[in-house]
């Protein structure tokens, strides 16, 4: 780890109490960073928690993920609001690289359990972002009951995802009332964040499931190189990037005309746990692998092109008259040109959750995609992929979720304040 900019957790322990009171509004002044792009290069510094949009969406994708969804066990609206306030205060501290609570991890009274669990002591902020989303079940339960007086606030775009062909969803890895995406360049920082939020939540929420991701599979900035997924291919070359500001308004952020008010400036997250049968994939010839994806495995260039970012030519044909890019290749089926212009901001992570007991790695891609309206973006795209993508022979969707992620949190506000307003 390189020498970090900003402040160390240990150095700040004494200041933690004051930080709670001020909501760390003053933190930006400490930051040596000038903008999002420099954050991609600096893997240790903080990412500002407050802002117009939630951090962790267009923030240049960090290397590590700890994603968790929570079910709310409390039945009172006030209890949920208190929790969201507590979570927000903790999130502001943790993303700034600080311990939570008045005393933090090691400065409290010896007789009491420490307020902060402590495994991030001495670690830099490591670009931690915490992004919250609310699932349909948070607003209306399975029986249609209005749990917290929020039923009428359900955005039409927050639909229940339909069944896609081949879905083999495990209910214990799907859904959830609230999702929190923790991304960081240090895995321990990400785990620390989810662990402490889960702890604060006891009595109000229970963890429904959690997922670790060890490597990013998307770039969300042109300053980043394109990473590889567990098929060994570059993934996310054509992703929406933070530099595409006009396109982000069109494809990513909920606009005032979309409504509802509490979602304007926010985005919808679809999560899919995609198991890859990598052992089978690895027995597939290089040529077939490239045909299935539609890109060269080495360069990441579209088939028939030399460079990763060369424009894709969907009409190019081989000498035998067959298209260079197979009609059922992933790149073609997922491309906006064949999806009425719909795009996604992908932010997925590779995972290997041990092995499956049958001698195979429990490996895959934890797919995360943000968008302005899932009805026009993820759902039709996935319907097309589920029907015809050759890649389906090597993947299985085993977990799923959809969440409404509101706009950013202004200093002094809390997660979901507008939803509860």
């Amino acid at each position: 780890m390189t020498e970090r900019k900003g402040v160390s957790r240990r150095g700040l322990l004494g200041a933690a109490g004051a930080a709670v009171a001020t909501g760390v509004a003053g933190y930006a002044a400490h930051s040596a960073l000038s903008g999002e792009e420099s954050q991609a290069a600096d893997t240790t510094g903080p990412v500002e928690f407050h802002g117009a949009h939630q951090a962790g969406i267009v923030t240049p994708a960090q290397d590590r993920l700890h994603f968790a969804t929570f079910d709310v066990t409390a039945t009172k609206r006030d209890a949920v609001v208190s929790l969201l306030k507590e979570w927000t205060a903790a999130a502001a501290l943790m993303t700034a690289g600080r311990d939570i609570g008045q005393y933090g991890a090691v400065n409290g009274p010896g007789e009491a359990p420490p307020e902060d669990t402590g495994e991030a002591v001495g670690l830099p902020p490591a670009r931690l972002t915490l992004t919250i989303g609310f699932g349909p079940s948070f607003l209306v339960d399975a029986k249609g009951n209005d749990r917290f007086g929020l039923k009428s606030r359900r955005p039409p775009a927050l639909v229940d995802l339909p069944h896609f062909i081949g879905d083999n969803l495990d209910p214990n890895r799907s859904g959830g009332d609230i999702a929190v995406q923790a991304c960081s360049d240090d895995p321990q920082v990400a785990v620390h964040a989810i662990r402490n939020l889960a702890r604060i939540g006891f009595g109000t929420t229970v963890v429904r499931y959690s997922q670790l991701g060890f490597g990013r599979t998307s770039s969300t900035s042109r300053a980043q190189t394109t990473p590889r997924n567990l098929f060994g291919f570059k993934d996310g070359t054509n992703n929406l990037k933070l530099e595409d500001t006009a396109k982000l308004e069109e494809q990513l952020w909920v606009q005032p005309e979309d409504g509802p008010d509490w979602m304007v400036g926010g985005s919808y997250l679809v999560s899919r746990r995609i198991r890859m049968t990598i052992e089978i994939w690895d027995r597939t010839s290089l040529g077939e692998q490239e045909q299935i994806i539609g890109r060269g495995k080495g360069t990441g260039a579209p088939l028939g092109k030399a460079d990763e970012f060369d424009p894709i030519d969907f009409t190019a044909k081989n000498a035998d008259g067959e298209p260079k890019l197979a009609m059922d290749s992933h790149v073609r089926l997922a491309h906006p040109q064949f999806n009425k212009g719909a795009e996604l901001l992908r932010r997925g992570y590779n995972f290997v959750d041990g092995s499956d007991g049958l001698g195979r790695l429990d490996a895959g891609l934890f797919f995360l995609a943000y968008q302005r309206d899932p009805r026009k973006q993820f759902i039709p795209i996935q319907q097309q992929l589920a029907r015809t993508d050759t890649m389906n022979e090597y993947i299985r969707h085993v977990g799923s979720g959809i969440f409404a992620c509101p706009a950013g949190v202004p200093a002094g506000s809390f997660w979901g304040e507008k939803l509860f307003a």
Partner: protein, 381 residues
């Protein structure tokens, strides 16, 4: 044998109470007639009622004369707010009469019979009238907390010895059915005060080790050794020596528990440890893996935790009233979750699905987190 629990406000009251205590034992007073405003309160406990000869007593020392006219073993408690145990009598068998002598300051209480020992019990209001109770300072509150909890430990220990004796007799007499019936009952008293018992060195493993807890070369003894024979092989054969050893070990624990001196932090940490036991051993079904009577232990651990926390209640109330509210709510939630598994005087065999275990785990976590904060609040100067 007469089990008597006395609550003393201060050390000064001891000689006086000791006198009353003796009187209660020797005379075995009959209850006062209805209409009396003084004298012992007669409690008619049956399987379905808990009738007090009067619902009002004067502040100071009161005697409750509990006769069990039902068919089940019962317990009698006087609870202050939050089910704080002011005094209790355990293990009152059918046809028996026991006295509870307890000092009650002015206020509102509940008198509770628990036929079958499990659950919320049959509750009635008890009004204690007189001059308003004097405000006590924090040190006094803490001192009273430990004294009150030590009395709780004492009465649990006595019942533990009684019920374990019965269990051991059943095992040695070859009565498999009776032994099976008494197994979870005798363990209830053990589980309520387990952190105290555990503090006495190697007795806990001898009494309560699971088969996988035993060091190679050491003989596996105790409750679970007998449990395995009872449920796996449906026999008591060969268990006689383990039964004898169990009673010897339990008697040693009981003797130590009766004179144990605790401080408020030990109460707080004990309350937390009992919930740790629930979370790690009971929710998972590891504790009573042959009999599946885990929920008895579960309930007993939570009751023991509540007894310790509520003993600290007056002190906690002064320091962190919000925490007290959370504790009350979350203790209730755990008992409510357990009630779903009740059948008759006990619990269904614990063979819960993963989803059910998750639900129980969630209510325990919800309680354990605030309980873990009690020690810090108590320690605050």
């Amino acid at each position: 044998m007469i089990t008597i629990t006395v609550r003393r406000a201060t050390a000064v009251a001891v000689p006086l109470l000791a006198g009353l205590l003796l009187a209660g034992c020797a005379d075995d007073k009959t209850a006062a007639a209805p209409g009396d405003t003084t004298g012992p309160v007669a409690v008619k406990a049956t399987d379905s009622e808990c009738a007090l000869s009067r619902g009002e007593v004067k502040s100071g020392t009161s005697t409750f004369s509990v006769s069990n006219g039902g068919s089940k073993v019962t317990e009698f408690y006087v609870y202050a707010e939050g089910d704080r145990v002011m005094g209790e009598v355990e293990n009152i068998g059918p046809g028996l009469k026991r006295d509870l002598i307890v000092e009650l300051p002015t206020g509102k209480y509940q008198a509770v019979c628990k036929p079958g020992m499990i659950g919320d019990g049959i509750r009635g209001d008890l009004n204690v009238t007189g001059a308003a109770a004097a405000q006590i300072d924090e040190d006094t509150a803490l001192k009273q907390a430990t004294e009150s909890y030590q009395r709780y430990v004492n009465s649990q220990a006595i019942a533990l010895e009684q019920k374990t004796t019965e269990f051991v007799q059943a095992v040695k007499g070859g009565d498999v059915a009776k032994a099976k019936e008494l197994f979870p009952v005798s363990r209830t008293y053990w589980e309520r005060i387990e952190p105290v018992a555990e503090s006495f060195g190697d007795l806990d493993p001898k009494i309560d080790a699971r088969v996988n807890d035993v060091e190679p070369g050491t003989e596996w003894t105790g409750y679970h050794r007998i449990e395995q024979a009872l449920w796996e092989k449906n026999t008591t054969t060969g268990m006689e020596k383990y039964a004898d050893q169990l009673l010897v070990d339990v008697k040693t624990v009981v003797a130590k528990a009766k004179v144990v001196k605790l401080n408020p932090l030990q109460l707080a940490n004990g309350a937390k440890e009992l919930l740790d036991e629930v979370a790690t051993g009971k929710v998972t079904g590891e504790e009573d893996r042959y009999s599946h009577t885990d929920l008895w232990d579960f309930q007993a651990n939570v009751e023991g935790s509540q007894a310790a926390v509520q003993a600290l209640r007056p002190a906690l109330q002064q320091r962190d009233a919000a925490l007290v509210t959370t504790l009350d709510t979350n203790f209730k939630a755990v008992f409510a979750a357990l009630d779903k598994y009740r059948v008759g005087d006990g619990f269904k065999p614990y063979t819960a699905t993963e989803a059910e275990k998750k639900q129980l785990g969630a209510v325990v976590d919800a309680l354990a987190e605030p309980v873990s904060k009690v020690a810090g609040v108590i320690a605050k100067k």
